[in-house]
Symmetry: C2
Subunit: 205 residues, 2 copies
């Protein structure tokens, strides 16, 4: 019997790039990310919206086999090291936390939110071309900030692994168990209100 994830039963009318999106651990170690596709991923992030068009995001990009990939990989948690090495690209996602000589930050308090949007756009573009993205927070942030000489007015936030879906049979047992677990989310009624907080779940059709 083949070892496969059960397909998620999402709302079938959800647009296809969101319908098929999830964050796998099994990536194909033979897939290489070409520079044209990488360009499109960054272009997707580039056109994300942001507070007052502040664009408070940056990315450090490593492709499997290059020094940047290896330098970031060294700082990942043991759990993330168990799978992320097979991704075709590892990106460090960074947001601005104050103005600096390189770039103004006219709005306070929206940079992490806006980086999240840029990362989501990048992920949507990855899924649109048949790849998958897996964002993660488990790595040594301080060491990564120092490793790439990220200035103090920028904050290293997340990692993004991008690659082609691989065979979960090749994962270690603990990681494979996580990979095959059904995905879950809170019900809409728990987080969307039609009026006062918690009083009135929004009416849906």
């Amino acid at each position: 019997m083949a070892l496969v994830r059960e397909p998620d039963v999402l709302e079938p009318e959800l647009t296809s790039v969101l319908q098929g999106r999830w964050s796998p651990r099994a990536f194909d170690a033979t897939h290489e990310l070409d520079r044209r596709t990488l360009h499109l991923l960054l272009e997707a992030a580039r056109w994300a919206p942001s507070a007052g068009n502040s664009q408070p995001w940056s990315f450090i990009v490593g492709l499997r086999g290059d020094a940047t990939f290896d330098r970031f990989f060294e700082h990942l948690s043991r759990g993330n090291k168990s799978w992320a090495g097979n991704a075709s690209a590892l990106l460090v996602a960074v947001h601005q936390n104050a103005s600096g000589p390189d770039h103004e930050l006219p709005f306070d308090g929206y940079a992490a939110y806006d980086l999240g949007q840029a990362a989501a756009h990048l992920s949507v573009q990855a899924h649109a071309v048949g790849l998958h993205a897996h964002q993660f927070a488990g790595f040594d942030h301080e060491a990564t900030q120092a490793e790439f000489s990220v200035p103090a007015h920028w904050t290293v936030k997340t990692g993004i692994a991008v690659g082609l879906l691989g065979d979960p049979a090749l994962l270690d047992e603990r990681t494979r168990e996580k990979e095959l677990r059904p995905r879950t989310r809170r019900a809409i009624g728990e987080f969307a209100f039609g009026g006062d907080w918690g009083e009135q779940p929004v009416e849906l059709g």
Copy 2:
């Protein structure tokens, strides 16, 4: 001569939901958001990724004509009041900042980022069904938090206007000027590095 926005010259291979996405001010005051489409917008947000699947987001949803829409509208900045009243829906986007009786927050520091992702997913779904979304930060956050009795372990972050694109000729002059201005972004080489910060722009194809 018709008053129209010049189409943006984006990377033509960008996937269509991102290609056509922008944040307009001109919304069609006759369009109504049906409950089925609203359901899909929230479903898109629901399936966004988050740190350890913490899902630290909530939304308060008003549809034009209902009390929730009007209650939020009252707290918008003068600039946003000039256009947001014609949107079909106004949502308050809220992220968790600590654990509470309603919901655990196992990871610190990713909730704003994750709310940004959920908002981006919601926007992508809006664009996929021919609508537009315009996120904004210009409103009285403290008054909005009190208005809807949002508890202290949740933070009111942004507003999201959703609707059908309208005629910019109906905007006031100052808002129309903003609406028709070409969209701009930093070049990829300014925010994506192939190694040490600022030293080596990432190589693109």
